[in-house]
Symmetry: C2
Subunit: 287 residues, 2 copies
């Protein structure tokens, strides 16, 4: 059976590349103008292989964009107090402009206490409560990177959100909750769905915009996508499978992100862009 329509793909890889090129241009300009190079501190607790890979990727992309990175590898046995001290010291260090604490930090650590030790003006990953509140009330501040990437994709493809019904599947602190607030700030009607939601299918069927951010392979069924909907899949599960059944969804959606190459590359791009923003703010204010 051949599909009657095929969705246009939202090219996260291409948009991310342009954002990183722009960040690199701005980083070079800052270095020339101030003599200081934008610097991202990456903090990793333990040696979870996926986390090691993510941090390595973020550092390598930073380097390509002309952003220095300073890596702090802490043993898995690190206590909350030690981690808070480390993040506090980086927050006070004028040579560091952005701070990334790789998630997850291990069950014995109070992750919220750790996040809150990051100074809001260096919170380029958008994980502090202050950043969340800023996103919720359209105040200045850094956005969580994956939500920020989703919003940039929507802007790039000129999706007018006003009055649209956006269904967010997932309510995590750094993805579901903030992306819902960002969509609401752009006048979407926003529904938060999650593991306790009954009748997810019925809610998805009404959505003009679907954001899947829950980490369960193909949880969102293609047949539930409303014809003409915009689908953003922030899920990334084993075997390059998203949270949306892509093959079925693309026959109904108007715009859809592929996995990989959709939302994924946007996350690092926003991280780097915000690191350069942070450096510019801190160096220009002379702090």
């Amino acid at each position: 059976m051949s599909p009657t329509t095929t969705a246009r793909l939202m090219d996260g890889t291409g948009l991310a590349r342009r954002i990183v090129e722009d960040a690199a241009t701005r980083a070079a300009e800052i270095s020339t103008r101030t003599g200081a190079t934008p610097c991202l501190a990456t903090v990793l607790v333990g040696d979870d292989p996926a986390s090691v890979t993510y941090v390595r990727m973020k550092r390598s992309r930073s380097a390509k964009a002309g952003i220095t990175s300073r890596h702090i590898a802490l043993p898995a046995t690190t206590s909350t107090a030690e981690l808070v001290d480390t993040l506090g010291a980086l927050s006070d260090d004028p040579g560091v402009h952005g701070i990334l604490l790789q998630h997850p930090v291990g069950p014995h650590i109070d992750e919220r206490a750790a996040f809150e030790a990051i100074a809001p003006q260096k919170d380029v990953d958008g994980v502090t409560l202050s950043s969340f509140a800023a996103m919720s009330f359209s105040l200045p501040g850094f956005v969580s990177c994956t939500p920020g990437g989703i919003m940039r994709l929507l802007a790039e493809y000129r999706v007018d959100l006003a009055g649209k019904h956006a269904v967010v599947v997932g309510r995590s602190a750094i993805l579901g909750k903030p992306v819902g607030m960002l969509l609401l700030a752009q006048d979407a009607t926003v529904t938060y769905c999650h593991s306790r939601t009954r009748n997810l299918s019925a809610l998805v069927r009404e959505a003009d915009v679907v954001v899947a951010a829950v980490g369960r392979p193909r949880l969102v069924r293609g047949e539930d996508i409303k014809p003409g909907a915009v689908v953003l899949d922030a899920g990334y599960n084993a075997g390059n499978v998203g949270d949306v059944d892509f093959d079925a969804a693309r026959t109904r959606a108007e715009l859809i992100t592929p996995v990989p190459g959709g939302v994924g590359p946007m996350t690092i791009a926003v991280l780097l862009a915000q690191t350069v923003d942070a450096a510019a703010q801190q160096l220009d204010s002379g702090s």
Copy 2:
């Protein structure tokens, strides 16, 4: 035409009275134990008659509950900087345990800057960004008073929110947004509707729980209430009219708040309860 069913009324007046009685008992216990009386500072800018009345009511209820109040009346010409200074001084004053800045403060003042000058541990009205983030992530902190009152009504009437679809009409900083986050924390599926929402009726028709918080008389039509739904009306418009068409809604809902006597009285009750909580925390920690 006589209604086929009639909703049970959620008695906010009665519940608020019990909450205030409990606050009074605790306030007396604190006074006896520590020698210090819980103190609420009320700050009013200008002389808007409705605001004057609200503040007077809050102070009179405080007095009846054994809570001292200290009133600061500022002229309408007060600048943001002057208001921030006043609130900062109250935040530092060990004799003040809770601070209420009466809303609205006038268009020439940066209300957000003013709210942020309130120390989170004295934010008994739940207006700071820190309090909003705490509500959003189920962290310790004070809740916005009207949302807190709505949640207490739901608890009192044993409404199990898990998996229920809650539709919040309104997205203000101290009502719609926080109540949605509190409902989400109790595992409801939450939809935020607002002035740009298309097809509000269709969304209300699916709601197991409706929270109307927008200040437009009878915006929510009774015929849209799903049979058996729970309806909380935080609207209060001229002529004792809520945001819900009460007469029609009560023939379909299972539980509904009257206007007045529903959500309204809960707001002050939560304010007083949180003032006593704040006093207990501050006096017991010796600060």
